[in-house]
């Protein structure tokens, strides 16, 4: 009994539950509201005479920010010793995938008008577009395997697969860097943030990288 009390800590259980719900709601509202605003802004002409480029850029930057936030969660949880925070990773990651999908779809539909031969050509020839596409494919596989049942089913493979979030982060920054006409400073800020997050979890990253090296066969 005494042990239990100690474990539940300073905050009563109910308070922590409420806080968890509030945080979850904040993630959903914070991720959805800008999309509603975007819808309004495009229709009200707030994005200039031709909103397409702005729209695509807005969605891409948003996806990158959400990914950074997703990867900020576990260092933050560790720092605050609040494991509960880790529950925010799944909704944040899924929202990141949603934004990235909208970014990709608007490029397909609004910029290239579903001209498939052009789309194919751009994907093959333009490195920055290929980088973005690869990042999206990875995000897609992470989103598909985020179902809790599948997570248990996949066991340690799940962790291995979801370590690719680090790759997506770097691909995303690289994609951004190469997509701008000039002004490397904004993408550089994102890259710096990404590198910072990777350094924070350097042990995890090294461990994840190590999981791809086949274990040496033990001598008999």
């Amino acid at each position: 009994m005494a042990v239990l009390e100690q474990k539940s800590g300073i905050q009563p259980l109910r308070f922590r539950k409420t806080l968890a719900i509030i945080l979850q709601l904040a993630v959903h509202i914070g991720s959805a509201l800008p999309l509603l605003w975007l819808f309004y802004a495009v229709n009200a002409g707030l994005m200039g005479g031709d909103p397409v480029k702005e729209l695509i850029h807005f969605l891409g930057i948003g996806a990158l920010r959400l990914l950074l936030l997703t990867l900020l969660v576990s260092p933050l949880a560790q720092w605050l010793s609040t494991g509960q925070l880790n529950r925010l990773r799944r909704p944040l990651g899924l929202w990141c995938f949603t934004w990235a999908s909208l970014h990709f779809t608007s490029w397909l539909a609004l910029d290239l008008a579903f001209d498939w031969s052009l789309i194919g050509g751009e994907l093959i020839e333009r490195t920055y577009i290929l980088l973005g596409f690869m990042a999206w494919i990875l995000l897609l596989s992470l989103a598909l395997t985020s179902i809790p049942k599948l997570m248990r089913l996949m066991g340690k493979h799940w962790k291995k697969l979801h370590g690719f979030a680090y790759v997506v982060l770097l691909l995303g920054c690289w994609h951004f860097w190469w997509s701008v006409k000039s002004g490397w400073m904004e993408p550089a800020l994102y890259l710096a943030a990404a590198v910072f997050l990777l350094i924070l979890r350097r042990r995890k990253v090294v461990h994840w990288l190590g999981s791809f090296i086949p274990a040496p066969s033990r001598p008999r």
Binding site: W37, V42, G45, G48, G49, E122, R126, S182, E186, L189
Partner: protein, 335 residues
């Protein structure tokens, strides 16, 4: 400091600033009480202007009606709506987003404006641009405008031929090139003051043409569009339009023209020589290293998200008038 810098490039805040808007859009914003909320969201100079009492008058720069001879009948082109042409601009001196120029340039002082012509000319001189406007036979030219970023517009410009204008200064036989320079005034142009806002470009913006390109009758110095003087975001009070070249050759708010013996440096070429050449002729066969130039998105009438993707024409459709200028050149090398 870091956070502030980040905020400046933030599209969310950048796009919401009400200063771009026409009066009706403003009324709409006020009507639903968004104005205050949006103003509270950013650290932009433009947003602070919005709070100052005299911002109502400064909101959109005054544009005067011009006298001009209308465009002679040619191929019938669908015009880009005026509202789109003046709210979707590349003018990095006022910020790198497409909506920045319309928002940040409205207080640019365009009157008086002196244009200096010097270099390899017998009679160098300074011209008062507004006197020039009043005393010139202005004509309307409806041209295709193809941006290097693969979007295009059709715009009714008002101006006069650069070649005829340059003749007045009597170019010498050594005048092989023409160099142009935009106003350098960091006090008025926030992108020149702040490297981040200005996209990392070394200002003033400079451009250039070969003398035969400058003398081609298609090349015009432009003082207006859609029947009125240029708004600041489109390069008031005087800019260059070279319809068979990518839009960035059309240097804005020109203060100096120099005739030279040697090829002058040009801004985008300095910044990324492998991506932007001196010639920058519209050429669907030569791609930008990072995107295709074979097609373009035409910004025409229709809703905000209506999409028209069309084939890009060689020399932007003006090949019969200009292709001969480059007959001896490998356009893949001299892109």
């Amino acid at each position: 400091m870091l956070i502030k810098t980040k905020k400046r490039g933030d599209l969310t805040e950048g796009s919401v600033t009400p200063e771009t808007a026409y009066l009706n859009r403003r009324t709409l914003l006020k009507g639903i009480g968004l104005g205050g909320m949006l103003a509270a969201g950013g650290a932009h100079a433009g947003l602070l202007d919005f709070l100052s009492p005299d911002s109502e008058e400064r909101e959109t720069a005054e544009r005067k009606a011009l006298q001009f001879s209308p465009h002679s009948p040619g191929p019938s082109l669908t015009l880009t709506p005026e509202a789109k042409a003046i709210n979707h601009n590349n003018f990095y001196e006022f910020g790198t987003s497409k909506t920045d120029p319309a928002r940040n340039s409205q207080s640019l002082k365009v009157e008086p404006w002196t244009l200096t012509v010097e270099g390899e000319v017998a009679k160098p001189g300074k011209v008062d641009v507004w006197q020039l406007m009043a005393g010139s036979q202005l004509e309307e030219r409806i041209y295709r405008m193809r941006c290097v970023e693969a979007w295009s517009m059709v715009i009714p410009w008002i101006g006069f031929e650069l070649g005829k204008f340059l003749q007045r200064f009597e170019p010498t036989s050594r005048a092989k090139y023409v160099a142009f320079e935009t106003l350098y005034d960091p006090g008025q142009m926030p992108g020149q003051k702040d490297r981040y806002l200005g996209g990392g470009i070394d200002y003033p913006y400079v451009e250039g043409l070969r003398i035969d390109e400058a003398m081609n009758p298609l090349t015009i110095l432009t003082v207006g569009l859609y029947g009125k003087t240029l708004p600041p975001q489109n390069g008031a009070p005087i800019r260059l339009v070279v319809p068979w070249k990518y839009g960035f050759k059309g240097i804005k708010s020109i203060v100096k023209i120099r005739l030279l013996e040697k090829m002058p440096p040009t801004t985008w070429n300095i910044l990324a020589p492998n991506e932007y050449g001196f010639y920058a002729n519209v050429n669907p066969a030569v791609d930008h290293p990072r995107w295709s130039q074979a097609t373009e998105r035409f910004i025409g009438p229709g809703g905000p998200l209506s999409v028209t993707r069309q084939e890009t024409l060689s020399f932007n459709g003006y090949g019969d008038q200009v292709a001969s200028l480059y007959s001896q050149m490998n356009l893949r090398k001299y892109f």
